[in-house]
């Protein structure tokens, strides 16, 4: 995987995967906020979602409206194979790097 993804991209990609087909703007936003404890703007979520889609890491379709949304449909995102590979790759990079940290010596 030649491309590197940013931290927010990674978080959002993970959230979409976690939500398993139920990921749209707000649910993704909530998911990320819940785990990280920081708040992000809706616009940032949308921009990132679309960027990830452009990169081929996400795919989407319109569906599922609710009364709360004024009968408007939402765009549901789903992670692609490529997205999964990307996530695993970045996890591996970290794992590899973690493993290289000198072991803590007892007593120090």
């Amino acid at each position: 995987m030649s491309r590197v993804i940013g931290e927010l991209e990674e978080l959002i990609l993970l959230a979409v995967w976690i939500l398993e087909g139920d990921g749209y703007g707000i649910s993704v936003k909530k998911e990320v906020e819940r785990h990280t404890g920081r708040s992000i703007l809706l616009g940032a979520v949308h921009i990132t979602l679309y960027r990830l889609q452009d990169k081929g890491l996400l795919e989407s379709e319109l569906g599922g409206s609710s009364e709360k949304r004024g009968d408007r449909r939402k765009r549901l995102f789903r992670i692609t194979k490529k997205g999964m590979v990307q996530l695993r790759a970045s996890q591996e990079v970290r794992q590899k790097m973690w493993s290289l940290i000198p072991q803590l010596k007892p007593g120090s």
Partner: protein
């Protein structure tokens, strides 16, 4: 829920719909609403505010992506297309740009001139509180204003009116001879821009000091402030402070003035122009004499206190003259205030400082230049007209040109171009054109500014304006407005075409812009023809004034100035000049026509004779013969007759106003031997010994006024004394001035004679006919500039007509070809083709004639002697316009008519 959305949310929604791509709108709005519901728990305000924050964020985040997807053309693309179509039709492009550039350059130059003229005196810090105090023209028409007051009004204001923070006076002083001695070398200067100012002058006006203290510089008697360049002129690089300058005072005595301050040079845009200011304290007793209300040589300026009600103040001032002027009228004229004013109100006016330069009245300013509001108006109007003409041209040609692009538009529409995109394309093109034209015009103006300045006698500058955001704003606004206006018609018209029709070629036959285009051509030619006519009459009037018989022979009279500075030496010089064979007569006088401005009050001797204002001039017995003035009855002064010293000669007009009637009635009631009484002072009687035929002693702009001529050695009149100007005039022997070289030799000879008598006196001379001519300097200047702009207007109109004719020729190629096939001759075709334009020009002639007549009639009414408004001028202008138009169209029509029909018709 959705039906309860607040206005703020609906607005945000609309904005998103407007700017964010259609594909996203649904989900975004859905998300926003959903979040809003969640956030309501934390308060409506927060929910509402966050809705907006998110909306704006989304708009910023997604609008840029959007643009690239739906607009098929970028601005760069538009410029490329504009450039291609400009190059494809070179002739149109050049005509179009040339006309536009000329128009903008003209308007810009005029704009600079008008701006400069209307922003005089704007550098004074307290300018909005400074007023010049004016009064009626008490020496003539009381309805006119006089910009100079007697010194008395200031005393009265200081005593009674507390609303002024300061009132200051500046006193007119005649030309002075100044001398300084540097390293034992005497240097002499003749100073015309020398006045006396009161010590608080610099509290009112902002003239920055380079050296010295503005508060005290003019406090002491015999102190003087000078400008930097004057200091340089007198003392070079030495420090002028404390240096002495010898001033020959008006009474002939010398006084030494100490330099107590150096000012930065007075800005050109000031109605007060001086090189040196003496302290008013040097003039002893100026405000204590009897004549303090009528000695009208004091410019009086008041600075009102902050927040003063000027209207109420003006009302208060009206009480002053009746209360304070009576001692003057009694003491000088033996009249009560009412008798003196003859019941006319002695109004006191407050004129705002910044209005002074361009005010219609008072016209005369003793202390510097005064502008001509009429010129500014005329030129402003011409500037706008020329700009309008060239903008119209631009629109006209753009419209005409764009119809050639109908196919392009059709193809684009078929390929999916939206109407908006097309409109934008045409407007961008036209704005680009105007931008190029404006930049070129700025360059042209900058390059030709020197020439224009020489012509208009101005110091206009362009470059410094570029630092002003206001100027740049005007330029940009101008580009956008003209660009939009000129581009909008073709843009809206063309983009509305139905592609199917334009592609079939239907547009050509049915192109409808002709009505408007013809209207615009008529407008252009109306303006051009009217300008031709007006210019012609201005020229005609100027020529006419030169040929008016002024009643005296003004040619071949050489006049020497500053003779009063010679004192007794003037007689020595006169005797020497009389021996010069180049001169037939040499005479001495106190004034020179056409500049006899002085007047006084007189009445015929006898009970109940009315007091009248007469001009007067002083001269010796040689002057009237030198002028070749014609005596109707009586005789000239006779040096052998001692009584003649106090006798006078009057002109016909004076005889009339004094009540002696006209020359037909003189047989019964001759003015000869009658006396005229000075209606002031000791009421001296002056006996009339002759009446001369009226001659113009002032500019021929004016009618001849009543004139009284007294001997220059009449010492009973107050104007007798060494300080009053005197002149020597010489009539040249026509035989001795056969060439310019010879004339120069004579003048050099006179100069040497003057230097022999007194080397300190400045040698200055003029010719009387030139002085008469000079009274029309302003008009001549105007005429030159008017000629220039008329030519420009005609050129612009012709460019427009040429372009339209070319366009029309192109459009009608096939029609003419078919006509030719059917047997029409070239002559018939040319006639057919030209008649369309000829009709337009003929209509313009009809419209412009009455307009030009009114304008000319109005302008000529300023003059006492008018050139007649002849019909033939109108006809000549019409013929000129017609032939220019015919010439312009002719070329096109010939080439169109001569074309080979086979060539024209072969492609369909």
């Amino acid at each position: 829920m959705s039906n309860q959305r607040s206005f703020a949310r609906r607005l945000a929604g609309t904005l998103i719909e407007r700017w964010v791509g259609r594909a996203y709108v649904e989900e975004f709005l859905g998300d926003l609403d959903e979040m809003y519901e969640d956030r309501l728990a934390r308060g409506k305000f927060i929910a509402e505010a966050m809705y907006w924050v998110d909306s704006i964020h989304l708009i910023f985040g997604f609008s840029s992506t959007e643009k690239q997807q739906s607009h098929s053309m970028f601005i760069g693309n538009m410029i490329k297309i504009a450039w291609r179509s400009a190059v494809r039709q070179k002739q149109f492009t050049i005509l179009n740009l040339l006309g536009l550039t000329l128009g903008i350059a003209t308007c810009l130059a005029i704009g600079l001139y008008v701006y400069e003229e209307s922003t005089y005196d704007s550098f004074h810090v307290n300018g909005d509180r400074i007023y010049r105090i004016n009064q009626p023209m008490i020496w003539g028409d009381w309805n006119e204003q006089l910009s100079c007051m007697g010194p008395g009004i200031t005393e009265a204001i200081r005593a009674e009116i507390p609303d002024f923070e300061e009132v200051t006076r500046i006193m007119f002083a005649d030309e002075q001879l100044m001398s300084v001695t540097i390293d034992d070398q005497a240097k002499h200067f003749n100073e015309a821009k020398y006045f006396m100012a009161e010590d608080n002058f610099f509290k009112v006006f902002t003239f920055p000091f380079l050296k010295g203290d503005p508060n005290t510089a003019l406090k002491e008697a015999n102190s003087m402030v000078i400008t930097a360049s004057t200091a340089k002129r007198y003392f070079g690089d030495a420090d002028p402070m404390g240096k002495l300058i010898d001033v020959k005072s008006p009474t002939g005595t010398n006084a030494l003035f100490t330099v107590t301050g150096v000012l930065a040079d007075v800005p050109a845009q000031s109605h007060l122009q001086f090189d040196m200011l003496g302290s008013l304290a040097s003039v002893t007793g100026f405000d204590s004499g009897r004549s303090t209300w009528i000695w009208t040589i004091f410019g009086t300026y008041g600075m009102v206190k902050e927040g003063t009600d000027v209207a109420a103040l003006t009302k208060k001032l009206q009480a002053l003259p009746p209360k304070w002027a009576e001692p003057t009228t009694q003491g000088v004229f033996n009249q009560t205030f009412e008798q003196f004013t003859k019941g006319q109100p002695w109004t006191i006016y407050l004129q705002p400082l910044r209005d002074i330069y361009l005010a219609k009245s008072p016209t005369f300013n003793r202390f510097g230049p005064s502008g001509n509001p009429e010129f500014v108006m005329i030129f402003g109007a011409i500037g706008v007209l020329v700009l309008l003409l060239s903008s119209i041209n631009f629109m006209n040609l753009s419209t005409a040109r764009s119809s050639n692009r109908a196919k392009e538009v059709g193809v684009r529409k078929v390929l999916g171009s939206e109407k908006n995109t097309l409109v934008r394309q045409f407007i961008v093109e036209s704005v680009l054109f105007v931008t190029v034209g404006t930049v070129a015009a700025l360059a042209i103006v900058q390059l030709s500014l020197n020439a224009f300045n020489t012509l208009a006698e101005k110091q206009l500058v362009l470059l410094p304006h570029f630092t002003s955001p206001y100027f740049l704003g005007v330029i940009i606004a101008f580009i956008l407005i003209v660009g939009l206006a000129a581009g909008s018609y073709p843009a809206l018209y063309l983009s509305a075409f139905k592609p199917a029709e334009t592609l079939k070629g239907k547009l050509r036959a049915g192109f409808k812009g002709t009505g408007i285009r013809n209207g615009l051509v008529v407008f252009q030619f109306t303006v051009s023809i009217a300008l031709i006519i007006c210019t012609f009459f201005v020229q005609k009037q100027l020529n006419y004034t030169r040929t008016i018989d002024v009643g005296i022979t003004k040619d071949h009279v050489l006049q020497l100035y500053n003779m009063h500075q010679l004192g007794e030496g003037a007689d020595v010089l006169k005797a020497r000049l009389e021996n010069n064979p180049a001169f037939t007569v040499v005479a001495k006088s106190g004034f020179l026509p056409p500049n006899v401005w002085t007047g006084d009050r007189y009445r015929a001797e006898g009970p109940n004779q009315p007091v009248v204002d007469l001009h007067y001039m002083r001269c010796d017995e040689n002057y009237l013969p030198l002028l070749q003035a014609e005596f109707i009855i009586g005789r000239n002064f006779d040096p052998a007759n001692a009584a003649d010293k106090y006798n006078i000669i009057i002109n016909e007009e004076a005889a009339k106003v004094l009540g002696y009637g006209s020359k037909e009635t003189w047989r019964e009631n001759s003015p000869l031997g009658k006396s005229v009484v000075q209606s002031f002072g000791s009421e001296e009687k002056l006996q009339i010994i002759g009446v001369v035929k009226d001659f113009n002693f002032n500019s021929v702009k004016q009618k001849i006024g009543p004139l009284l001529i007294m001997r220059n050695d009449n010492d009973k009149h107050w104007s007798y004394g060494a300080g009053f100007p005197s002149y020597l005039s010489m009539r040249l022997n026509p035989g001795s001035v056969s060439s310019g070289d010879e004339l120069q030799r004579i003048i050099d000879g006179v100069k040497a004679e003057v230097a022999k008598v007194d080397p300190a006196v400045t040698f200055q001379y003029s010719f009387m006919d030139e002085e008469f001519d000079n009274t029309f300097r302003e008009e001549r200047k105007m005429s030159v500039i008017l000629n220039l702009f008329t030519v420009l207007a005609i050129v612009i109109a012709c460019l427009g007509l040429f372009g339209l004719a070319a366009f029309s020729a192109d459009q009608r190629k096939k029609e003419l070809g078919i006509r030719k096939l059917h047997g029409a001759s070239v002559r018939q075709l040319v006639f057919l083709f030209s008649s369309e334009f000829t009709k337009l020009v003929a209509l313009s002639i009809v419209i412009s004639t009455p307009l030009a007549y009114l304008a000319t009639d109005y302008w000529l009414s300023n003059f006492a002697y008018r050139t007649p408004i002849n019909i033939w001028v109108f006809m000549a202008a019409g013929v000129t316009a017609m032939s220019i138009a015919a010439f312009t169209v002719g070329f096109q029509s010939f080439s169109a008519a001569n074309a080979n029909p086979a060539e024209v018709l072969k492609n369909e």
